[in-house]
Symmetry: C2
Subunit: 762 residues, 2 copies
Amino acid sequence: MSEPEKSPVSAAETAGESGEQSKEEDLDLDLASIFVSDAQFNRNIFFDSSPQAVRLYILYNHWGLQVAVYFFILVDLSLALFEDPAVVLLPLWATMSVELLCILVFIARLTHYAKVIPRDKFWKDPKNLCIIAILTLTLLDMLIYGSLRALDCSGVRWSRVLRPLLLVNITEGRRLRQAFRSIRNALPQILLVFLLFIFSILIFSLMALKLFSKRGLKTTDGAPYFTNFLQIVFDLYVLVTTANSPDIMMPAYNSSSIFSIFFIVFILVNVYIFMSVFLAVVYNNYKKHLKEEVRQLVRAKRHKMARAFAVLQQKSVEGAEPVVTHDRWSRLVRRVRPDISHAHKELLWSVCDPEEKGAIGKLAFVQLADLLNIEVITLKQRPHPLQSLWPTLYLSKPSRLLCSVIQHRGFIILFDLIILVNAVFIALDEENPLISNSEWFFLALYLLEIILKLYVHEPRTFFSRHNFWNWFDTIIVVAALIATIANSALKSSSGYTSRQILDIVFILRVLRLIRVVDSINRFRAIINTLIRIGPAILTFGQLILVVYYIFAMVGMELFNGKVQFFGPESEAPERLYCGNPLLKDTAFALHNYCKNNFNQVVSSFVLLLELTMVNQWHVLSSGFSLTTHSAARLYFLLFHITVVIIIINIFVAFVLEAFFVEYSVEKSDLQNSVEKKIEELQLGVKQEKLEQNLVNSMETIDSEQEDGQKKRPALLFKIASKRYRTVDALIQRMFENDLDPEDFNENEDETNGNFSNPAFNL
Amino acid sequence: MSEPEKSPVSAAETAGESGEQSKEEDLDLDLASIFVSDAQFNRNIFFDSSPQAVRLYILYNHWGLQVAVYFFILVDLSLALFEDPAVVLLPLWATMSVELLCILVFIARLTHYAKVIPRDKFWKDPKNLCIIAILTLTLLDMLIYGSLRALDCSGVRWSRVLRPLLLVNITEGRRLRQAFRSIRNALPQILLVFLLFIFSILIFSLMALKLFSKRGLKTTDGAPYFTNFLQIVFDLYVLVTTANSPDIMMPAYNSSSIFSIFFIVFILVNVYIFMSVFLAVVYNNYKKHLKEEVRQLVRAKRHKMARAFAVLQQKSVEGAEPVVTHDRWSRLVRRVRPDISHAHKELLWSVCDPEEKGAIGKLAFVQLADLLNIEVITLKQRPHPLQSLWPTLYLSKPSRLLCSVIQHRGFIILFDLIILVNAVFIALDEENPLISNSEWFFLALYLLEIILKLYVHEPRTFFSRHNFWNWFDTIIVVAALIATIANSALKSSSGYTSRQILDIVFILRVLRLIRVVDSINRFRAIINTLIRIGPAILTFGQLILVVYYIFAMVGMELFNGKVQFFGPESEAPERLYCGNPLLKDTAFALHNYCKNNFNQVVSSFVLLLELTMVNQWHVLSSGFSLTTHSAARLYFLLFHITVVIIIINIFVAFVLEAFFVEYSVEKSDLQNSVEKKIEELQLGVKQEKLEQNLVNSMETIDSEQEDGQKKRPALLFKIASKRYRTVDALIQRMFENDLDPEDFNENEDETNGNFSNPAFNL
């Protein structure tokens, strides 16, 4: 269906005259809104442009379906809890049928996707092929495993390793794919340094072999010291991770101080130089790659916005620059973001159309995706409900005095002091009745504080989405109140306290103390930075989950049951060597590491976390290599290289980069223009003075209303410049400064080219 | 002595006519050359401008005196080896008199400095006051300690802590001071994050106390688990360093898997988030501060060059721009850098004066300091000595064939293979006579390789200063030959092998294998980067030395003799608990850490290195806190915070930054202009093809000479662009790109201002 030539008459005027045209108009808006929201969320899906496909595509992007996909992936992943070796063993038919259900859901989702995008694009996209392969292999594995089990043979559920890869390959896993891509692109450089590093370890090992093997030295547990070349290589590799320092050096050092030189040189070269170089190489490659990705994202975003413009454009006069009218623009925005207020929308329009022409050109239109991503908070200046109910009482002198007392800095300091005193009481022994009863007193104080604050502040403002600490406070205090009451009730009725409830009470009490941080401005700044980086870190959470899951599945197949844990109460003699005689008197058993095993998925994950922490990983690895084969060390080495050398370094690189952006870039140009507009329109509030202002302006409004003079607008805006709606926004801001100068021009050309030759036809 | 108005006649023409004028000319050159070399080496000493002071200042900067100062500081520092508690105990009078000698040297140096710079500047400079304070306090301490010892009382040599501070406060310690300054400037930010981090640990500790103290859990060695608040804080701090992971978690984890959540959250927040934030804050502040320092350095450098120009300037015509003539310029360069060749000097001149006017203006003159810092290697194209001796033989067909065989890539690969085979032979047991004799074979091969290479390459070129690997090869092979011969001689004469000589032989043999790295181009690139960063890392070496020395001195006073080491051969029962009954059955004694003590300076340094490696530092610290007081942990905590959190992070920041510079900036503009000039003059050689080129061009020269056609110049230049003469050059290059655009203008104004109002009068 080819898009008809737009008539010079604005669509708004002709709307309603013909049902056909209105329907077409509707389709246009649908399409444009898809382009805008694709641009806004950086979705890069080349969807089919037929009306059905567009409707299907809107459905495909529905948040409900996306949540459902993640939910079923989660279900699929957590099946590991119930499959043999299980935390809670469920019969095979149960897990199998749940898995089958998941697979059906994924197939349905993929079919949906196939209907949205053109067929040839679908089969060219590696991620679709990956999903198909994963699902096919899983079904095959289920069939084989099911039949083997039916025949009472043992089988390996090898396809479980593939499950987390679904997270990477679904449409929504774009950021995760990006992370994997950046790792893959850094690999050649990392490999180069890694080879050099291994070469260095081999050279040092050879030297150690020649220096120490003939000296008849013994380690602390009487084993010969540095006599086997492969063992030396492993020991020195462990020394690089610092896990066996200084033990590995002690026998040589005890025999002569001179030998410490060997280890000092080794440590300097391999621990300090090479590890820094690894970080540098990973960081450098990560940054380079990210920059390229962001450049492409920005290009794709502008391209999509240009296409949306092409759909909505109208020409007032033949030959003039095409424009989008205010009416169409505003219907588009309403469709893309139904949640934003009319005032907010008008604010954005006035940023786009500063000269109030009533229509905007392509350049201004392209900004829209970014404008929608700037979080503008609309603060309705509502009077306090008490003021509406009893205005005379609420506005009386004593009430006003109370309000100003509560808003005084001293009030905050007083409660900070109370929190500190509370901390001391918490630390003291709670079996003293005076102290355990003091808890009621403190709870009452905290409740009083919240009530007093609610007396001053309008409740909906107080509990608005962005007042993190108010929410935190209230939830913690109320939860603590409920838990404490439940605990006391239980105690007085049955005479004993429930350990679980008590634990919750304790945790809530301690968490309350965190609030002190918010009172100190400079701490708040750091915390805010951390919170801002938070969502971006979640990508790394998924990355770690994928890697951990794969290693856990492999580990469970390899090492299941090799190490037994007998529980802290057990008196069985086997508990001293983790139920495996091979572990008798080994460091693994002596350190009481029996619970660090691969017998179920939870303990596997904890074990992998311990391996990530590096310390004692050689002891853990020795436990499993002793009970299986010394080649088992390869598994642990591989884990170390993958997670510690690569992923943790990328994580550090990311945090470093995010911090630098936070410190150097203050606000983007676009944010500044929105903020300037807010200021121009005298609609702004300063973040710090927000709470005081609310009350003050409330009072001013009253007095002004009394004077009958100019009315203040009833709406206030502020930019939540310190929060990012999407992770991409943060990443894009990272390189915005580098990108903008040359890239804007380049993109302009491209989008212009795209505009003059619209490849997209409705 | 005020500078007389320069006559428009060039000084060179009038030189020699009057002794007075020539002497004055000489003084001018002295002064200008001081400014230039100050600018070149970034010395910022405001010296007096009287002729005597200038002569004294030249003497002050003499390399001999500088080396002497470092030598005496080294002597002073190494006195710790001979003072009680000593490695080799010398009588008190001996160490005291050496120390007195050192102090006298430092006083002499300081007096010299006082004579060079104006009196008021001297007393305003904190580093001079620091040195005076250090020396006074040291003398006082020596007096007190000497008298106490004479009275047979025990005393504390507290002034030893001050010794390393001399390294920081001497004039030459500029870079070290800069490093300390950048640490000091980063401190407020670090402190803020550190307080938040400590707060987080306290909150988690409180939670741990409430959760675990009443559960009656026991650690592996039967101690109650998490019952004492301070102990919990310490344990959790140690967990942040990962040193007691996973042991500290095991009792809680064994009792219930749920508790692992507590530790996982703790680790995520404190280990991964906070430690990355520390690195980010340290890095960010370090970079910011360094940028500012470099900006000032560049400004000071240009200022000094402008002053040098003011001294040498001449006006050809009244009212014209002042210039410096080629003659004066070249005498100046000869004075500043007597070692560079005439050709090199002319090359630099042609870069400054591309239009061959015979005189340069201020802008071109100011470049000189940077030009002198660019290392241009002059390669004299000498014919091979054998060619001069037996030209017919050397240029005969078989000889030429031999040369081309040796230069063939296969020759290098062949010897790489030989090295690999050699590595296998080294790894095998050397008691097998076949294998021990194979060593002679390999040695002969390596010697043959060197001789063959010398046959092809001109010896002085082969052993030029920049051919690191040729030097490395030859030294290693010759040393191995000597050591192997010595060993065999000893064996055949006395019948046993000396362990020491054998060790050296082994080390040399293994070191030989390193050469393989050089054959692989991509490895060579990494190695070159590391070598380039090398000198800059030395500043950190000094920094670490200062911090280590101070901690070692304090540690020796606090913990001397608390832990005894009995030697590996000892059978004394005390060796099982390090001679201190308090250590019986502690982890410290069980791990056999007795030699990790503060009983002398060498073992203290090794212990501090182990603490820097972090692993097991809690065991080491517990050893010393058990034998003294639990407050001793503060010493170890302080060391961890100072060295691991601050200094190691700065080190990582430095390596990261240096790597990024290496990867991003290829060459500076100035280097490019020199290189372009070299190319223009057809004097260049490409680095990679250097060796082949030398021989090829040698042959070409011959053939050309035979043909009697145009002669090639006998000199070749290349820029050692991959090496930096000074650490500052590297640091400046780090921020050059950021600095140049705005800063050049600013400096131009400043230097112009300085020029029009010359504050400097001879």
